[in-house]
Amino acid sequence: MVGKHKIIGKPERRVDAWGKVTGKAKYAEDYTVGHQLWGKVLRSKYPHAKILSIDTSKASELLGVEAVLTAREIPGSNVFGIVVKNQQILADERVRFLGDGVALVAAKSKEIADHALALIDVQYELLPVVSDPEEALRPGAPLIHGDTNEFVHHKVRKGDVAKGFAEADFTIERKFKTQFVEHAYIEPEAVLAEPAEQGGVKITGSVQNLFSSRRSVAEALGISLNRVQIIQSTLGGSFGGKDEVMTSMCCRAALLAGRTGKPVKMVNTREESMLESYKRHPYVLYYKWGAKKDGTITAMEIRVVADGGAYASMSPFVTWRSVVQATGPYYCENVKTDVYAAYTNNNYTGAMRGFGSPQVDFAIESMMDELAEAVGVTPLEIRMKNGFEGGAVTATGQKLAHTVSLKEVLSKAAQELGFEEKWRRYRDAKAVAKRRGVGLACSYRGVSLGAEGVDAAQTTVSVQTDGSVIVSSGVTDMGQGAQTQMAQITAEVLGISVDRIQFLNTNTSGVADSGPTVASRGTVMGGLAAKNAAEKVRATLLEVGSELTGTPVDALDLADNYLVNERTNERLASFGELTAACFNKGRPMIGLGWHKAPRTSWHEEEGKGDAYFTFVYGANAAEVEVDTETGRVNVIDFVSVHDVGKAINRAMVTGQMCGGVAMGLGYGLLEEFEIEAGIPKQLNFDEYLIPTSMDVPRIKTVIVENEDPAGPFGAKSVGEPTNELAAPAIVNAIYNATGKRVYEIPANLERVFLGHKLTRHDKRGSEQKNAFDAVMVESCKVRGGSE
């Protein structure tokens, strides 16, 4: 197969490249229609409060205001949620975090809308705030929903941990903490909702998961799914982030369009975006491992508490991936893992690139280095000793039937960086101010949704009479290049060049519900559906070709834009001639491709199952220089190795690998969305710092290809695995350099310098600290009074 491909694995340009370098690509905010109104949201004033009353009368009277809506005016269902339906389009009785919407305005201009918001009088009764997930699980904590804040408890059980610890020569017990992270897509959320001719609504917007958003819009308006059309505009980044926050924006815009009968545009400012959007989950992780002197791990007991924030969102799925992967790709006979998620009054947390793996990978890979030290071997040796090989049985009892390339990627990463030699040298180096260190991290990662949910997708290939091709899919492109991959797959099957293909942005009325484009499933699911669709068209074309030329079908092939006789290499007809003939014969040149993922299983109570139909393997190696006098960490060299099954497009795979490392580096060293008593501290890029061109080191990328029959042409995932290993690799490198381990990320100056947060220095501020929460509430009240 390898070498036979004409398009797969070749450096094809992205199908959307021209639009993106010319500025012609249309993102949501670029859509403008005549007589459009501007929609705006009045958000909560407090992180937790009861709504006593909402008076919109003054706002409604304002010149230029065409509609003011509250929860009461929603014709259909006000609640949505992919797993647990507990999020509201507009809060009716209670607000649970500062991003909650309370009322909507549609007006002739943004400014009038903003002014109208200020005229809406909302009376609140303050409720106690809980912003720490562990506190939220204690008895007596303020309740966010129902009678308990614990809304997820996933477990994995294997063997007997008591026995495992009894067999151990020693144990290692550690606590780790991770932070809130903002997706920070550069394009803020935007939609344009237009009343449709036959009733219903058409929405164009920066929506990642169109079908779940459509369902909620239909329910909110109380109409059927076929009357809600959502078209994805070119998406300016998402990283998992444009899901629920877009669902609520779609619903709100649709409600305003329905009420006014006019198009309504809604655009978040960066501040609104950061205030309302969901984040990556902060985790508190308690890891206890038992091991033998030779490094064999006899038991792992793991407890994780995730901060779910105010709503369930994707937490049940995110934390499920965590529970499945919490032990890492390492053999252990006795495992007990419990992952909890708790409601708090913080921003809710949901899908973000990595989806529950970056947090556990930080803990696992830190533990693995500690184990190496305890045993007296190198980080590479301990991983080679404990790492999975073909046929391994995971903590969930799944036997790995695919090519398990963990050791291949590990040794390649180590080799590329010169890890072993450097690690020893740096460990033994003199304690000077600026010290170097190297670190290693690896992982295995389940591909696609796994037993998290229904996993199927559709792609349509429609060949035109002139031989040009239109492809559309329910799997969406957020910049990761899904369209290009599907176009390449289609071109490969049809024997045409990629430039013949026009890819349509996803339209919910044009393709079948294909689930969410998450979990790095784009290539596998969309790609296999595209392959399936193209193969159907190919079969028709070959049949027609046979009828035309009298050559038997099995002697025909489509290649280089021609119908060819495979045996003689004779070109029998151009692709365009063939498609014209096909049309004239009245044969269908449209292929509906469908792919349903292989069976997976999960037993929630037993904590066992075949969680994913296949896995990918990756390893990262980092070299850092740490200034031990300041805590400053410079990443000077970085190697990223991933087994992607098969690289459909090498340039794009490399792009994903570099991008994943950049984001992972921000996670490990820089980024922290701080929430203080339910109130976010950073709402724009001057305070929430993401890596610049000066922060990302040269990254050496190594693509490993062990083709997997579960993916198109052997391809698997790459988007998320690239994002989960930079932080632990860097933290391990810091340890190699300094001999101090960071247990809490980001590893910023103070954590690296002291290994922990500095505590209060002296008299100053101490007496006022206690009064601080009260003051924050007071300042809310002052503002409440001024309106």
Binding site: T630, L670, P691, D695, L758, H761, G765, K769, N770
Partner: protein
């Protein structure tokens, strides 16, 4: 959108000063800080007086005494690439280059950089803090990661400028024109500590304009530098920084020194004691370390900014040794 304001673009300095007589006016030079503040409602403006077109405020000129006069409208990009500044006053070029991003350096002016408002997230946020006329500094009990460790007094901002510490180290003077005439003062006394007046950061009256900055001629054996630590590699304010200007004698001993810290105090923070300690000595690891220790003496870190003490010590030592 930014709240409404009127806009005038006077064609002479005199006209500009006249325009400033009305209350509620704000000066627009490069506009980078002004527009951010207006958009964020840090303060309001009834009228914006754009001085961007005043040629009398531009240009870098050799003065008759061998010094340099730099117009207030000189952009940071110009400061960072001017051959004379690079040669004679490297601390200033380094300060300008380490500020903000290329685009902001193309736009932001020297005058604006010296007069920019503090970056405290409570001051910039919608907190009615002391500096905005309220009765509380939220940083005291809240997140004070980026606040001062020196010179705080009821308010704990840091001065955000990277050019100011360099200019103070280089002995700059600023020229101010106003309705009541002009004055020239050392840049050092241009800044107002919170203990003196909590609502402003400099001595400019509402109807005054900083027109230019002058630097004395460089001494024959003068070396200067600016070193800054920030959380990310670019486009970030100083967590801590140090500007040095050292005059060396023939034997390599320090004849005169200026040590000015940035990012740690409400104004460029000169450490006279460290300057004294360095004078008459050669720079060795020991004297550098000793001077660095002096620089952190009396630091009063808050709950979350103790790391700045380490930064200052390390930066000062490193910067001194680099100038040897």
């Amino acid at each position: 959108m930014i709240p409404k304001f009127d806009y005038v673009r006077p064609d002479s300095l005199r006209q500009a000063i006249k325009q400033l007589a009305a209350s509620g006016t704000r000066i627009h030079a490069g506009g980078t800080d002004l527009l951010g503040c207006l958009r964020d409602r840090v303060f309001t403006a009834d009228k914006v007086v754009s001085i961007g077109g005043l040629s009398e405020l531009g240009g870098i000129k050799r003065a008759s005494d061998g010094g340099l006069t730099i117009g207030a409208l000189t952009t940071l990009a110009q400061l960072a690439s001017d051959p004379v500044i690079l040669k004679d006053y490297p601390a200033l070029a380094q300060g300008a280059l380490s500020a903000a991003s290329p685009q902001l350096r193309n736009q932001g002016t020297l005058g604006g950089n010296l007069c920019q408002r503090p970056r405290c997230w409570y001051f910039r946020g919608d907190f009615h803090c002391l500096r905005k006329g309220g009765n509380l500094c939220y940083a005291v009990g809240g997140r004070n990661d980026y606040h001062c460790i020196f010179g705080g007094d009821a308010c704990y901002i840091v001065h955000p400028s990277d050019t100011a510490p360099a200019l103070v180290a280089l002995g700059a003077r600023v020229h101010i024109n106003g309705a009541n005439g002009s004055r020239t003062i050392p840049l050092e006394s241009f800044f107002v500590p919170p203990g003196k007046d909590i609502t402003r950061e400099n001595v400019l009256a509402p109807n005054e304009i900083l027109t230019n900055v002058s630097l004395p001629a460089p001494a024959p054996n003068q070396r200067s530098s600016y070193r800054k630590m920030r959380a990310r590699g670019a486009w970030d304010f100083a967590l801590a920084g140090v500007a040095l200007s050292l005059r060396f004698g023939v034997g390599g001993e320090v004849e005169g020194a200026r040590v000015v810290l940035s990012g740690v105090a409400p104004m460029p923070w000169r450490v006279a004691e460290a300057e004294k300690a360095l004078t008459g000595k050669r720079i060795t690891e020991d004297t550098a370390r000793a001077a660095a220790e002096i620089c952190i003496k009396g630091a009063e870190p808050m709950e979350y900014n103790g790391y700045k003490v380490n930064l200052v010590r390390a930066l000062v030592e490193e910067a001194l040794l680099a100038l040897r």
